[in-house]
Subunit: 84 residues, 2 copies
Amino acid sequence: MGTVIVDVMPKPEILDPQGQAVGHALGKLGIDGFTEVRQGKRFALSVDGEVTEEALARAREAAERLLSNPVIEDVVSVRAEADA
Amino acid sequence: MGTVIVDVMPKPEILDPQGQAVGHALGKLGIDGFTEVRQGKRFALSVDGEVTEEALARAREAAERLLSNPVIEDVVSVRAEADA
């Protein structure tokens, strides 16, 4: 069984309060040294059999139409899991 | 500036209603062929300069202590962004 991984992140110019909250919480835990934290989404789409070019094309369509909001998010990666 | 990427996914044995909802919505959009959809989180932790082994160690600690809930989630990857 193959898996397509789709990574979606907030656009660099968009404020990411969720990531900022994580960054502040890290500081309170004493985990310092990260200048910025941004939080996005990772989707694992399973297919029967190998990940074909056609499955990747469908995953790209899914990423653009449903998995990301193009106003505020970028699809940063659509790839077969083994490529990770 | 370097970036550490942390990927967190729901454990395989845990029900993922968010991923299921995405899977159903894909079907309604006519995007078929995915047998399962699971949704997790992707964090981008920025550091000044290169990503060092020490920064990766701090990111692993962050992943275990804050970015994931070990009861229901797995940290599937902690790596420098260029390795992606």
